[in-house]
Subunit: 307 residues, 4 copies
């Protein structure tokens, strides 16, 4: 197996990838962006890509949501939840009072703003293309224009020449990022486990309140809860949206299959992005009217009458 | 073929039965009540019964609604619409001013009350078990306690010894009664014609507003209109109801099959009473999302993904 | 106070009227029909009429539903629940084996059919205009054409010359009829008690499933349960209906006022027929979002913003 | 009047601000971030801030959505639509073939990626804190680490020492960004014009499909369309969301007031962020049942009955 992840080495994406059985010994190629990572899956250069999709503080990762919605032939086959912990690193010998500018990815910066306001209130922020890249930038010969970087603990392990000025500097101790492992369309559909998720992308017609209700009703009418729902612009015009949705259950479940059939009739452009086990293993509560047995009995009843 | 109808001879039910191809030459046995007529179908004594189900002025015929709901093995295979016209008959030689009491069925009486108030304001009303029975009662030797009867024109044709005191005395010139031809459960399901009706009986759970909405939603979500909806008590307690519903379409239509499957999950006690051609031949408007093609494409889409 | 009731004396309607405080000593005028009784209220001849509206076995009383819907100026101010018990009476000296024909109101006959099938299987049924009238008919000099009548126990008390052949002959021991006391529009609105009902009549537009859902949603969206819902034909055409609905709560409750406002916008022909205490005293469960306080806070919030 | 905008000078935000009558001659203070701009409104340092809220290509501006949702005392009083056109600038004398690295804001970069792939496929991307800052960075004495910047045409006008290497390099010619003018809570509510928008922020309870439907129903039931709906994380946990919604209409409209009252009952934490004229002047279609007149008649009807 060959994997890619949102690099460079030391990102939370790599940590997520390492949670996949066998990934430690597999080939792991860093990509410089989500778009690049998914393009490698598309071209067959790698078997799957581990990319961030949702952060508990910053929300959906737009680049990922848009890229997997745009590509027609990808499948999410697995998810991973990674607690997000930030550290402040600098070249050896740097003191806290030496730090006048800090670099990191803008999402990371948003999550340490409180700590910075308390401890380094006058520091300048220099945008970086990733947390790891900001940290590694400190190690080149010439000055990168900043004295410290915010990154994940894994970076410090991989680069002992960086010293840790402060640990656990995230404003929200429970911050977590969800990553998805994205394979090609021909990847085998993961078996249902009883605690699964299904991800779909649904174009939204004109009238938003009514149209969105018609879509949601397809899930609600079959007792299918949604664990994530996000709107993203189609790019065509202001107010033109699609919805990215995670629903509780597997397409092999009768209620989910029925909800997807209803969705397809209401919005024929709906895209299926995968059914896969939930990382937290929580099984949904299914009412008696929405079990596979209830669906099968209803199906049999109609079939018998039709003769 | 052997038929029964709500008798005696000369009722609107017989007129409805005569609209069935071949019924004129078939055996036609009158029954004294809807319950008796349906019992003859149940026992196999006749092949089918023609009974009234709905009147445009008086509403649903409770006896029929309750009887076909209670029996588990009946099938509506045809409907007939009969314009309701009333005449006033009396033994030959009777004058309008001789009439002091009039007999007829209570439903008929309700439909001529306006005319009676104008023309015979002081007349007494004597309940009769049917319109035809009230008329025939005038022909026995001894006085039945009334001088005239309200009945259908067909009775006067069958009994020339009755003279017609007045014609078209119904208060509502457009009054019409709908009759259904009820066969046994083993009767063949009529072929879909594109302009059909499906009749079901649905027990209603506790909370009326919410529960009824959940039932109606099964039809509305598939674009299936209802042409009749009536509540009837289950007889168990005040507020315990079932619903008798006519929906536009045939169980062979994908949208109707899907609505019935949904209904069966929400209310597993639902009973199917038949799919049959509409007497008025009006085909429903079906939106693109509810055609057989749309359902088949959705079905195929899910099947392909499931692999 | 002057009252009328569906007579003659001895009917269940009179029993219901006697449950009204002060009615025992007030003037009580029997009426021969529900229509006549309500006309007396309309004309001011009496202050109020006690009429049956719903029977647990036979369902809604069509005559009452239609009459109170048609009149524009009536108000239900009270309800009464009367357990329905039937007895079989005959002139003194009559033996069970002498009975060849039995008379009673058709609703009563429907409720003793099981008992009759067991004990008097070959008896003929003669329709009567009321249970009491059938019983009283036995007391005239000449033969009424039947030997016994089914009526309420109160008739036997009022007419000691009738002997009771059998008691408690109703097929359903828990049968109960609900009566309503109907006054003129100028009657004072009864105070809310916390356990009230509101009765409305709602014309139903064309498309039944969707239109009915829009009406029901007005109640459901405010957490208002319905204790009775019945369809009745408008008389104009097959499939043209209005709905008669009892909703739990008083128009003085914020949630009910809001539901009625919504109903008026969706179906401007809605008629208010009264808010009055429930006979069973059962108070509804009201969720925190539907309390008067929740409505008042929402109202205040919008008013403050509007400034 | 004193205004702030997302600076530095030359940003699209400043262009949006200049569309406000009187702003050209008013004091206009640049802010380095949306958070800083809104803090200046909060503290009273300025009267209002012009900030981007939604881009037709990149979607909602998370920083703005989160900041105006978090602050409790802000009011949107105006919106502006600015077509987004990008140019590529460099210090005088720079040739296209000299460009090895380009800086701009990440949102801008996302919108010129196609053009870059065609014309400068091997260029490196250097994140900048704003488009204008990236451009101005080229003018300092020492090398900023890049040779060109992507910015708005207004920057080139303000800095004649920059030369324009290419114009209209955006991938989507119809790209437009919506800006809002945010004042303090005590700002006067703009008068309704007949073509208005109302912005609210709504916390979403647990079960997403059902809860979201209950919120949307408040708008749909009053015929209020939504022109924007976006989910944002509350930051508390994965799957904990609030919704940011633009609805068509003004809180002074009866239907909008009623929808907001319903919303407040269902989700008492709802926040009102303003009613203001639509930049495009498009008036909504209002059905007869949702006019102010329909609401007033319903209100009068209930008030008359309550007495």
């Amino acid at each position: 197996m060959r994997y890619t992840f949102l690099g460079p080495e030391g990102t939370f994406s790599e940590a997520a990838l390492l949670s996949v059985p066998g990934a430690y010994d597999a080939e792991r190629i860093p990509s410089t962006s989500v778009v690049t990572a998914l393009a490698k899956v598309h071209s067959g250069e790698v078997d799957a890509a581990m990319v961030p999709i949702e952060n508990s503080v910053e929300g959906g990762v737009s680049a990922t949501l848009d890229a997997i919605a745009a590509e027609g032939d990808l499948r999410i086959v697995r998810e991973a939840l990674i607690p997000i912990r930030f550290i402040l690193v600098a070249p050896e010998g740097t003191l806290m009072e030496d730090v006048r500018a800090v670099s990191t990815h803008s999402h990371a910066w948003a999550q340490v703003r409180g700590w910075m306001g308390d401890r380094l209130p006058h520091v300048d922020y220099i945008p970086g293309s990733s947390t790891a890249a900001a940290a590694v930038g400190l190690l080149g010969g010439e000055s990168p224009g900043y004295e410290a970087a915010v990154c994940s603990p894994i970076v410090a392990e991989q680069h002992p020449e960086l010293s840790v000025l402060a640990s656990d500097i995230g404003d929200n101790a429970r911050a977590v990022t969800r990553f998805v492992l994205v394979a090609g369309e021909s990847a085998e559909l993961p078996e249902p486990t009883g605690a699964d998720k299904t991800t779909v992308v649904i174009p939204l017609p004109e009238d938003h309140a009514g149209a969105l209700m018609a879509l949601l009703e397809q899930f609600a009418a079959r007792g299918v809860n949604l664990s994530r729902i996000e709107s993203r612009p189609t790019g065509e015009a202001l107010g033109s949206y699609f919805f990215s949705v995670d629903a509780e259950g597997h397409i092999a479940n009768a209620r989910m299959g029925d909800a997807l059939r209803g969705l397809h009739r209401v919005s024929p452009g709906v895209k299926f992005l995968g059914s896969y086990p939930r990382a937290d293993g929580v099984a949904p509560l299914v009412s008696p009217r929405n079990t596979d047995a209830a669906f099968n009995e209803a199906e049999d009843w109609v079939r018998r009458i039709r003769g």
